[in-house]
Each structure stands twice: as structure tokens, then as C-alpha cells.
């Protein structure tokens, strides 16, 4: 769901950029204050992994492909939605500048959708589900699915405001495609979190996990 430059007027792109920068500033502050030094390698490895996963367009039928976003993954592993904003912003900068994947004037909107919306939806739905169900796998699965679907719907609304898509068709098509893509996102996120938990349980920072007896 990387929005190219052609899909949003520059004036609106600037508005999204300003909103995005507020969150990016908060994410930088998070990295400075909350990120412990022993977790820096994990953050960087996650960025590399999320970049690679995002380059993998998987077929989801209906003449459409989709790739993972990774916002829920970053937020859950590092225990903060700002982790998702921090990592996704840098991944989007590399993608936009080096590979033309996502525009420059639209980068703010992409940061808002995948980093901010994805990170917050992923993190807080995980926290809430964890409290209610106590199931790590189930909570991660649903959180990752939502963190793919909700940003897509946000993107559809932005496309409507930009005059690029009509609201109905945009919401239905974006919602349908990303509901399917989200299932893949959910499966891979559960697998990735299982892997990290097994290899380096000390790096996982979910309050819920510690409570579960890590």
C-alpha cells in the first residue's frame, strides 16, 4: 500500500508529512530514552527483515498481490508502537529514495498508515487481546491482521480525500485485498515472533509475556 507521488496532491502530502513528523519525533525520543543498548541489534535486524519481507509480493488471488507491512511485528517485539514508527519510517525512507517504492511527497502519508496506524493498532490490539485471551499466538495473529487491514482502510480514505478513489469502491477493494493479505501477515508475524522468542527470549519486551512467566 505504498502510495506513489501521483496519487496525492502535493498540498495534501505536506499535511500528512507534518502529522507524520510529529510522530517521527516522538519515535526518535522513544529510541533515545526507552531503547536499551542491548536491543539496538534487534531493532536493526528487524528493519532488515521488514525491508526484505516488504519486497516479497505474494499472490492473493483476485489479480492482486500483497506484501507484509511489519508494523505489528515491530511494535509487539519491542513493546511500543513507537518502535513500529521508528523502523517503518526508516524502511520507507530507503524504499522511497532508493527504489521509488512509495513517493517522496506521499512518504508522510505512508509513514502515518503503515508506521503510526499499523504500530498503534498492532500494539494495542495485541495488548487488549492478550489480557482477555492470554494466548500469545492468537493475540499476535489478530493484531497483525488488524495492523494490515486498518492502515489499508486509512489509505483508502486518504485516496478519497485526494480525489483518486471514490470512497465506496476504495474502502471495499482496499479492505478486501488487505483482509486477505492480512492473513499472510498474521501467519508470518506469529512465526517471526515465535522464532525470536525461542532464539532470544531476553530481547522480547512484551509486558504480557513477562507476566506469562518468561
Amino acid at each position: 500500500m505504498h502510495i506513489p507521488d501521483a496519487f496525492i496532491p502535493i498540498s495534501q502530502g505536506i499535511v500528512y508529512w507534518i502529522i507524520a513528523l510529529v510522530f517521527v519525533a516522538l519515535a526518535l525520543r522513544w529510541a533515545r530514552n526507552e531503547l536499551s543498548e542491548d536491543k539496538l541489534p534487534l531493532v536493526a535486524v528487524l528493519a532488515a527483515g521488514i525491508f526484505a519481507l516488504q519486497s516479497f509480493n505474494l499472490p492473493v488471488a483476485m489479480g492482486t498481490s500483497g506484501h507484509l507491512v511489519g508494523g505489528a511485528l515491530a511494535a509487539i517485539v519491542l513493546g511500543s508502537p513507537f518502535a513500529a514508527i521508528f523502523i517503518l519510517t526508516m524502511v520507507l525512507v530507503v524504499q522511497g529514495i532508493m527504489f521509488g517504492d512509495g513517493g517522496i511527497t506521499t512518504m508522510g502519508a505512508n509513514i502515518i498508515n503503515m508506521g503510526v496506524v499499523g504500530g498503534f493498532v498492532g500494539f494495542y490490539s495485541f495488548k487488549g487481546l492478550m489480557k482477555v485471551t492470554k494466548s500469545m499466538a492468537f493475540s499476535v495473529f489478530i493484531a497483525a491482521w488488524l495492523a494490515c487491514l486498518i492502515p489499508a482502510l486509512a489509505c483508502a480514505v486518504e485516496m478519497y480525500l485526494a480525489g483518486t478513489f471514490p470512497l465506496n469502491v476504495g474502502l471495499i477493494a482496499m479492505g478486501l485485498y488487505h483482509a486477505v493479505i492480512g492473513v499472510i501477515e498474521a501467519i508470518v508475524t506469529v512465526a517471526a515472533i515465535n522464532l525470536i522468542t525461542n532464539v532470544r527470549p531476553d530481547l522480547m519486551d512484551t509486558g504480557a509475556r513477562t507476566a506469562a512467566g518468561a
Partner: protein, 113 residues
Amino acid sequence: MDNKTFIIAGIIVALLIGAVAVFLASGDPDGLESTALVVQGQKTITGDTPADAEIHEETAGRFSYSSPMPDYSLGESLGSAGGLVAILVGTLLAFLVVLGLAYGLKIAGKPTK
């Protein structure tokens, strides 16, 4: 697993995913592009994407930028090899940019604590 092993293993996994993607990634448009084609009447929501489908892009008054490696490729002539180089560069760059920025913030943040 110590930090060094974890970093190396993590980067290898990332590069493997990226390498597989070069060969196996679907050529179909992504969700956003696919929706654009639906809006422009070139495909139905659940139908296949026609081979000649092309998104009409609004360019008047829009910013445009040419990246060094558009679409994770170094051009048709280099094919998959170019794709592999692009993914390698991108994955390592994502790793280094985040690592560098995170370390930079930590160092810059220290005196104030």
C-alpha cells in the same frame, strides 16, 4: 545466541527472504494499484488483472522523482541479477540506517541523562 550470531543469522534470513522474493514474487499489482485499476475500470474487484492493464497516473501538478533502482531492479538487461543486487543493497541499507540512527540517538542522548 549472542548478539553477533543473532545479527548475522537475522541478516542471512532477511537476505534469503529477499532473494526468494526476486524469483517468486507475484507480478500482479499490489492492493493499492489493484484498487486503482478497479477505479479506472480496467479490472473487476475479484477478477484477474489483464496483462495490458496500466494505471493512469495523474502527473500534472504532482511531484515526480526518479530513484536509482526503480522497482527493485537495475534495468531489464540485468534481470534477476540486478534484482538480487537491489535487494542486497536495500536490506543492508535498512539495517545500517536503523543501526546508525539508533546508536547516534543513544550517544547524543547520553550527556543529558
